[in-house]
């Protein structure tokens, strides 16, 4: 049975992929080893895990402005997440997603998205419709 989660219309096109979820925040500069495609900040809940081609589901964005270029750079090397879902995005992540054409959505009607989706869930993200569908539970 599928579950539909309404959110604000976001950025980028429709994609399908597998979720990687944490009740934690995100900055490409602070948290990632972008060469090897893994979370590298020891304090991050996803430390050591690969984010490449996963749909990241996190609480909010943090840190500096570098992520706005970095998503574009990561995608050009094929080392980017497939999409990012936040409870609340910040300006930098939206700007970075726009340049990289990386799907990004936030502000979900049903509440905390990091609790509604589990790592391994199969998702369809449709930013234009403001809709995330869980097509298969982990």
């Amino acid at each position: 049975m599928t579950t539909e989660l309404k959110c604000q219309p976001g950025i980028g096109g429709r994609v399908e992929g597998t979720a990687l979820v944490a009740k934690d925040n995100f900055s490409a500069r602070y948290d990632l080893d972008r060469i090897n495609g893994v979370f590298s900040r020891p304090q991050h809940q996803l430390a050591g895990q690969s984010y490449v081609d996963r749909i990241l589901v996190l609480d909010t964005a943090k840190g500096g402005v570098a992520t706005a270029w970095m998503l574009h750079e990561m995608k050009a090397r094929g080392m980017a997440p497939k999409a990012i879902l936040f409870n609340a995005a910040n300006t930098i992540l939206a700007q970075g997603a726009a340049l990289a054409d990386l799907p990004l959505c936030d502000r979900f009607e049903a509440g905390d998205i990091t609790a509604l989706i589990q790592t391994g869930d199969r998702l369809i993200v449709d930013p234009g419709q403001g809709l995330v569908t869980i097509v298969e539970r982990a």
């Binding site: 750079e73 300006t91 700007q95 726009a98």
Partner: protein, 414 residues
């Protein structure tokens, strides 16, 4: 979004492809934050270090810069954040020719667009400080939080692409901190222990940032009995923005929008959180302890002012940095020029320390230079940099400027 005739012409490509791209970019970002229209901006400031840009980002800039001059020139004064390579000093750091070449290409592309290569994150101290109520498109979170909070200007955090879009059009989407309703206090803090030096301000800012934890929270702070300097609030804001992604704070009786608490509150003020000594000590305690060996001591993030540079020179006077420890100081090119003239760089470097111009340690390939030099244990007086640098493979520690200088000489945390 509502566009005027000039904006519609830019969107239609009538003023060239760079401005068409810029309008398209803003029309993707603006609706995400419910922007109704664009607001004219008087200056743009772009973070574009080559570590973040990568080959793809540099090629993107070169693409825009390849258009005819009337199409590619920025429409308002536009300046830059610190670069990734000091072209006068990169091989000794372990930076490669490939990194330097990306840097040269970036500089050429930016200059073709009429961007002033100021290479600084302290433009509010050194270039042209914004005025109260001035709408801006600034990059670097430390720059934005200072200009919003201390100067009462209006800017969101603008990443490089959005700052560039603003420079090319002279506009930015009207959302976030451009709207009065988003500048009202949402959290309230009372300070008891008074900050005494820069790192105390950094720790206090870091704690408030961590407790806010969102771009959309605005802290108001009461209880300060000391009069902060520009450098104090530089460290306070940079740390708050780094730990919290927070772009604005109010200090009652100090910052311009908050002559009183009531000025920044709609109705009843938020419940007060009293900052305890335990919270401050716990945050500081996350970063290092006495006796630990130190590989590299860093004064950066933000770049040092002239006043900080002279203090570093005074602290190192007649001293020698330990043979197994490096001491790196990052400052703005304009400050470096003054320091040259005043003999301050000569005094700092006589100790064996190195002053880098127009860079900042964390955005100059920190992972690669750490690996090239065998640096893991990093000591700084910047709460911002110790927050960032863990993800780059360092074990960071925090101490006052005085203790950092002493540690650089001793080779271990004193």
């Amino acid at each position: 979004m509502n566009l005027d005739a000039h904006e519609r012409a830019m969107l239609a490509g009538e003023l060239g492809e760079p401005r068409r791209w810029a309008m398209d970019h803003m029309l993707k970002v603006g609706p995400m934050f419910d922007a109704a229209d664009l607001v004219p901006v008087s200056q743009a400031h772009m973070m574009a270090d080559t570590e973040s840009l990568g080959e793809a980002g540099v090629a993107f800039l070169e693409g825009l810069a390849g258009h005819p001059p009337d199409q590619r020139r920025v429409a308002v004064p536009m300046i830059t954040d610190p670069r990734g390579v000091d072209l006068d000093y990169y091989r000794p750091l372990g930076q490669t020719e490939a990194m330097a070449e990306l840097e040269r290409r970036t500089i050429a592309a930016c200059q073709a667009m009429g961007i002033l290569m100021t290479d600084t994150c302290i433009n509010y101290q050194t270039i042209m400080p914004p005025v109260r109520g001035e709408h801006l498109a600034y990059g670097d979170t430390g720059v934005v939080i200072y200009c919003n909070s201390v100067l009462g200007a209006y800017s969101n955090f603008e990443g490089g692409p959005s700052a560039l879009a603003a420079g090319l059009t002279g506009r930015t989407p009207r959302y976030g901190l451009h709207l009065e309703k988003n500048r009202r206090a949402t959290k309230r803090f009372i300070v008891r222990r008074q900050p005494r030096e820069l790192t105390d301000w950094g720790v206090l800012g870091a704690l408030i940032g961590r407790l806010c934890g969102s771009y959309w929270e605005v802290p108001v702070v009461e209880g300060l009995e000391v009069a902060p300097t520009s450098d104090d609030l530089k460290h306070f804001g940079a740390a708050m923005a780094s730990f919290g992604s927070t772009p604005l704070y109010h200090l009652v009786g100090i910052t311009p929008e908050a002559p009183t608490l009531a000025h920044v509150c709609d109705g009843a003020p938020p419940a007060a959180h009293e900052i305890t000594n335990g919270e401050l000590d716990a945050l500081r305690g996350d970063f290092g302890g006495a006796g630990d060996k130190v590989d590299v001591v860093v004064f950066a993030a933000p770049q040092l002012s002239l006043v900080e540079m002279r203090r570093v020179a005074d602290l190192l006077e007649g001293q020698r940095v330990h043979a197994d420890t490096a001491l790196i100081v990052c400052t703005a090119p304009t400050v470096a020029a003054d320091c040259d003239r005043l003999g301050i760089i000569r005094r700092i470097e006589a100790s064996g320390a190195k002053v880098l111009r127009g860079t900042c340690f964390y955005n100059q390939y920190a992972r690669e230079i750490g690996q090239a030099n065998g640096w893991t244990r990093l000591l700084s007086n910047s709460a911002k940099i110790v927050n960032i640098i863990g993800g780059y493979g360092y074990r960071p520690a925090l101490a006052s400027m005085e203790d950092c200088a002493a540690a650089a000489v001793a080779g271990r945390i004193v």
